[in-house]
Symmetry: C2
Subunit: 188 residues, 2 copies
């Protein structure tokens, strides 16, 4: 049942993983050219400018993450939802030292066009909103702790997760991600 990927799809996939590793200014059309096996001019056929490519990459990455979040069973207790989310966040670390694409692009944001900023902002808001609901549920259940408004706590939690993948990769350990998860769980 495996479908052959088009050149266009391969380009976007590799662009995503390269950016998650080295950032926007750390990869080139030549890198993609070698990975996909076509000339750089062929990539320009699909994505005239690098900005076009990055925008498509963010769009596809966001869709993938949103789909994964929708697939989480709503009936689960909130602490288990958070555990799944944390695992999702850390999965790409083990795959190849990659961090969240939108966390990376947030670091590169001052070298990117406004359109990308808005796309990355949308990703942040969607994740924070999902986390806010989980926190709200967790407080009611007594499985999670969250001070103040759920939205505010969710922004802090999301920031902590983004910062933790950065540190986890820096130190070659996933322990820092687990520290974050433990901070929001009721049992110590």
């Amino acid at each position: 049942m495996e479908t052959k990927l088009t050149v266009r799809e391969q380009v976007v996939d590799h662009a995503i993983t390269l950016m998650m590793l080295r950032g926007y200014n750390g990869f080139s059309y030549r890198d993609l050219s070698e990975l996909v096996g076509v000339k750089t001019s062929s990539i320009h056929y699909y994505f005239p400018s690098k900005d076009d490519l990055v925008l498509e990459a963010v769009s596809q990455y966001s869709d993938e993450v949103m789909h994964a979040l929708q697939a989480v069973d709503p009936a689960l207790p909130a602490n288990e939802k958070l555990a799944m989310y944390t695992r999702l966040f850390g999965k790409t670390l083990g795959d190849g030292n990659q961090i969240c694409l939108c966390g990376m692009l947030a670091a590169d944001i001052e070298t990117l066009p406004e359109t990308v900023r808005q796309a990355v902002q949308a990703f942040f808001r969607a994740n924070e909103s999902w986390l806010a609901k989980v926190l709200e549920q967790g407080v009611k259940e007594g499985t999670l702790v969250a001070k103040g408004k759920p939205e505010s706590a969710a922004r802090t939690l999301f920031a902590a997760l983004q910062g933790s993948v950065l540190a986890s990769r820096l130190f070659h350990t996933k322990a820092r991600l687990e520290d974050v998860e433990a901070t929001w769980k009721t049992v110590s």
Copy 2:
């Protein structure tokens, strides 16, 4: 009493601010050349390779931050120490949309030599250690809340601050940094 900066000092200063804005792969010797007013070959005289320059930049930046932390009055209550630390973290945001140099380099780490990784790790550890002591003091005083071991909580707090400056710059607001501070304070 103002001292004239040497070319070498100007180079390092501008390298720091440029990297805090655009990252390691987002600035060039040419940028520095135009800012300082000397040719790129003159910069190579002081720093033969870009790696040499970034290493010196991290070293100087770390010294500055460590000095600022040592200047914090030990007699202050822990929540006020945290407030000062958060302000320090956010100061460069207002100055010119800059984030912590070592947070930025953590994002770029896969494109940098091992020496830089170790320097950035040292910066992380020093800050986390300082925050751990503040949290420990805060818990004793009742001014801060921290679950589990202070070291573990400090890592989460530091990650949350790093993630928050990223988000604050992305959204052009400092509110997200304040969310973090509020999460660790006892009063809601």
